[in-house]
């Protein structure tokens, strides 16, 4: 009994000791915390505050939650402050570490309550920012950061409002400063409204202060308040008008103030008045220059500047007074003529050519075209041709001289010719029978002593020019360029003239392309082709092509270009390129034109011949030639060329031991395939068959299967008449082998495929014997037995 009592006492004491242990108490506090009984939990945690390392943090958490639960702000703040106060009681560093994250949450709650009380007050907002910046934020950094951004957002709003008040009181510099501060806060807090509006209001303040501003590239303005934008652009337009920047002002008004308003109308009226005054000034200036011109006191350079300025003036004045602008326009031809005359008489042919070419549709004026010809001649005779200008000058000269109208114009200015008449019968510049209008002394009669050939005059002019470019260009490269170009341009022009029968303006290809009427010439040539199926017309049009288009001339050029591409591929030994060009569509283009399709084979044949003449043992040419045969629909000559080339190549290489018999047989198969009745090819092919069978027999080849594949191909319906006539070489070879076997005492019947004796004898062949038997069988089948 006593023992039982002692045990009970020990148990009670033990239980009491257990209950008083810190861990047990913390566990109890945790349970109370979980049950949201924070007050009881606080009591327990206070008992073990120093004894359990987690107790201070849990105590702080209880108070934090009580603060959050509290409804009145002072009570909340009180709890949160109590949390902060707990730090003072903590002595263990481990406990501090755990406590700090709860403390940061309490401090965040305090900062949040303080923020709610700022209500946009700049000082209070700044104070709370200072508070946020200094307190412990451990574990709550992003909450604090978001809260701080809200402060910046509010500060942006508050500064903007404060700045507008300053602006209203005309304290513009202060306003600008505060707008700028607000803009900085807006940028930090992503407050786009304040940012955009601040930029616009700063510009308005600057304009109010009469600062010179530039609104280029200020994108924020477009996103700001519409009423701010109106005010800004209106004030800006006024500033530009005051500074006489009328063009910029007009641009601002038309782009940004395009709404109805009496005030905007006033701006437009000022602009109109300014344009009027500008026109008045310009007219005065023009009249002064005209006076100088009449007194001949204007230099060529001043005249050129006057002439060049007219277009701009015409454009400016036409909005004010269309009649005056037309009067100014009417000055242009006269000034142009004066300037051109001065340039020509001063032998400034380059300047003369330049202004003629800028004159709209100058080629429609025989006078201008004649003067262009004279300038081109003068320019060339002065040795001024360069690689940059020779095309323009030569095409200008040729176009001028080839124009009948230009030559007829020359007759207008002569008086010595009263006793003569002139005939266009051999003129080189036209193919049509009659000009609509000709001078009285011009006819189409025969040439005689008194009826002078205009064609002879044109030829004389061309000859004079040719003498210059042949003999007087010192630089050999330039001389070649010039003369080649001259010949090409002249030939192209002559070709076009010989085809077109209509009265159209003829020009060289370069001239037509440079002045944008090459397509008109091409259209005429297209018409000629449609009417007469005349492919010469298409050929003549090719030099006039500038860009791809749907004309027949272009199709003709395209088809020809395909042939040129194949020729280039032959030259580059590129069989793949030819294969790629060999499409159904491309062939259709070529077949469309007889003059092209008829010559395809000859052109390719000649290109290949040229390559062969460079190297007659070039194996790379073989696939190129094979592709050419496929490309050309007419290909008998190409096949003949190919087969002979392959045969010669194989014979040479085999004889020099540079090629084995199998490779030669493979290549010759191609030759035989394309020329099965060419005796030379067939004979060589048969010889190679024999060589290859002998190689099999004598174990000189590893290509036995490949050889038999080729021979099987020959056996299978590929023995031409010529082959059959020449295949006794194989029969002879077979007979000789059998003779040798007989001499050696072999049972010949064993090698005869059809002999019954080989079956009846009961003897069998070893592998060498079987090989012999197969060779003899092929010799028999491929020979003419």
């Amino acid at each position: 009994m006593e023992i039982v009592i002692v045990l009970i006492i020990v148990a009670i004491v033990g239980y009491l000791i257990y209950q008083s242990l810190p861990n047990t108490k913390f566990e109890k506090a945790q349970n109370l915390f979980n049950a949201k009984d924070y007050v009881q939990a606080i009591t327990v945690l206070n008992e073990i505050f120093e004894k359990h390392v987690d107790a201070p943090a849990k105590l702080a958490e209880c108070k934090l939650n009580l603060g959050k639960q509290a409804s009145a702000k002072p009570e909340k703040v009180n709890y949160f402050n109590e949390v902060v106060e707990i730090r003072k009681r903590i002595s263990k560093s481990e406990s501090i570490t755990k406590f700090e994250s709860i403390e940061a949450k309490a401090l965040f709650e305090i900062a949040l309550i303080q923020y709610e009380e700022t209500k946009g007050d700049i000082d209070k907002l700044n104070q709370n920012i200072k508070f946020i910046d200094t307190v412990n934020k451990k574990g709550s950094e992003s909450d604090f950061s978001s809260l701080k951004k809200k402060h910046f957002y509010d500060l942006a709003d508050s500064h903007f409002k404060k700045a507008t008040d300053k602006e209203k009181s005309d304290k513009l510099s202060e306003a600008i400063q505060i707008y700028n501060t607000g803009k900085d806060y807006a940028e930090k807090s992503d407050n786009k409204t304040v940012k955009n509006n601040s930029v616009t209001r700063i510009a308005i303040c600057q304009l109010k202060r009469n600062d010179k501003i530039n609104l280029d590239d200020v994108s924020e303005i477009g996103y700001s308040d519409k009423s701010y934008q109106k005010e800004l652009y209106y004030r800006y337009a006024i500033q530009l008008l005051k500074n006489k920047e009328y063009t910029a002002a007009e641009k601002v008004i038309s782009s940004n103030l395009n709404f109805k308003s009496a005030d905007i109308d006033k701006l437009s009226e000022i602009l109109k008045a300014e344009k009027n005054n500008n026109a008045v000034t310009k007219i005065e200036e023009i009249n002064t220059l005209i006076e100088q011109l009449q007194k001949k006191s204007l230099s060529t350079e001043e005249l050129k500047a006057f002439y060049d300025s007219l277009d701009k003036t015409i454009n400016e004045v036409k909005f004010i007074d269309i009649q005056v602008s037309e009067k100014i326009s009417a000055l242009k031809p006269t000034l142009f003529n004066r300037l051109l005359t001065q340039y020509i008489s001063a032998e400034q042919f380059g300047n003369a050519i330049s202004i003629i070419q800028k004159y709209p549709k100058f080629w429609e004026s025989p006078e201008l075209l004649k003067n262009l010809g004279i300038c081109c001649y003068g320019y060339t005779s002065k040795g001024l041709l360069t690689e940059r200008n020779y095309q323009t000058v030569i095409s200008g000269w040729l176009t001028s001289v080839f124009s009948d109208r230009v030559i007829l114009k020359s007759l207008d200015d002569t008086t010595w010719d009263d006793n003569y008449t002139f005939t266009l019968v051999e003129a080189i510049g036209s193919n049509y029978s009659q000009h609509e209008e000709t001078p009285d002394n011009v006819n189409y009669d025969e040439i005689s002593e008194s009826n002078i050939s205009i064609g002879a005059t044109q030829k004389e002019l061309l000859q004079q020019f040719e003498t210059i470019i042949h003999k007087e260009i010192q630089d050999a490269n330039l001389s070649k360029l010039v003369n080649d170009f001259y010949d090409k341009e002249k030939e192209a022009l002559e070709n076009v003239i010989s085809v077109i029968e209509k009265d159209v303006f003829f020009a060289t290809p370069h001239f037509a392309k440079q002045n944008g009427f090459n397509n008109e010439i091409i259209e005429e040539l297209d018409n000629d082709y449609h009417n007469y199926s005349n492919e010469e017309a298409l050929e003549a049009g090719v030099p006039y092509i500038k860009n791809s288009n749907s004309t027949v001339v272009y199709q003709y050029f395209y088809a020809n270009d395909l042939i040129d591409k194949v020729k280039a591929a032959i030259n580059n030994e590129n069989s793949i390129a030819i294969k790629n060009l060999n499409t159904k569509e491309n062939k259709q283009w070529i077949e469309k034109f007889d003059s092209i399709s008829e010559l395809v084979e000859d052109k390719l044949f000649n290109s290949i011949s040229n390559k062969i003449s460079e190297d007659d043992e070039n194996e790379k040419l073989i696939p190129v030639m094979e592709e050419c045969i496929l490309f050309s629909s007419q290909n008998a000559k190409l096949k003949y060329q190919y087969s002979n080339y392959v045969a010669n190549y194989c014979i040479s290489k085999v004889n020099e031991n540079e090629m084995d018999n199998f490779k030669a047989l493979s290549l010759m198969k191609g030759a035989y395939l394309r020329s099965p009745n060419n005796p030379k090819i067939v004979k060589n092919f048969i010889t190679l068959i024999r060589f290859n069978l002998m190689d099999i027999l004598n174990d000189r080849t590893r290509k036995m299967n490949e050889i038999y594949t080729i021979l099987d191909w020959v056996k299978k319906n590929n023995m031409s008449q010529t082959y059959k006539q020449n295949s006794n070489e194989l029969s002879t070879a077979r007979r000789e082998i059998i003779q040798q076997l007989k001499k050696a005492g072999a049972d010949i019947s064993l090698f005869d495929e059809s002999s019954f004796s080989s079956l009846l004898s009961g003897h069998s062949l070893n592998s060498q014997g079987l090989k012999m038997k197969k060779v003899l069988t092929y010799l028999k089948e491929l020979g003419n037995e």
């Binding site: 004030r235 005030d263 000034l335 001649y377 020359s410 002078i452």
Partner: protein, 92 residues
């Protein structure tokens, strides 16, 4: 190539007799080589070649005589300062 009219010193409307006379004169003056003078005379006596020489004289373009521009436009006063700067005041 010098213009044959320049070599012989004759005008564009010179007749055959004038050309031949000018040729003799030019030979006496010796400003140009005898061959050049001969070629120039030959050129001007051959109508087709003479027409080629005439080609080198610029064509006269018919244009109107240049006259000062008559206009009723007069200078207008511009009153920028009379504009109402505050017409679109957006802070009212």
């Amino acid at each position: 190539m010098t213009n044959p009219y320049t070599i012989l010193g004759v005008s564009q409307d010179a007749d055959k007799a004038e050309i031949m006379k000018a040729q003799m004169l030019a030979m006496k003056k010796k400003e140009f080589a005898l061959q050049e003078i001969a070629i120039a005379a030959k050129q001007l006596l051959d109508p087709a070649k003479r027409l080629a020489a005439d080609f080198m004289y610029p064509a006269k373009i018919k244009v109107k005589r240049i006259q000062p521009i008559q206009s009723t436009l007069t200078h207008q006063e511009i009153y920028v300062n009379a504009l109402n700067d505050n017409a679109f005041n957006s802070l009212k």
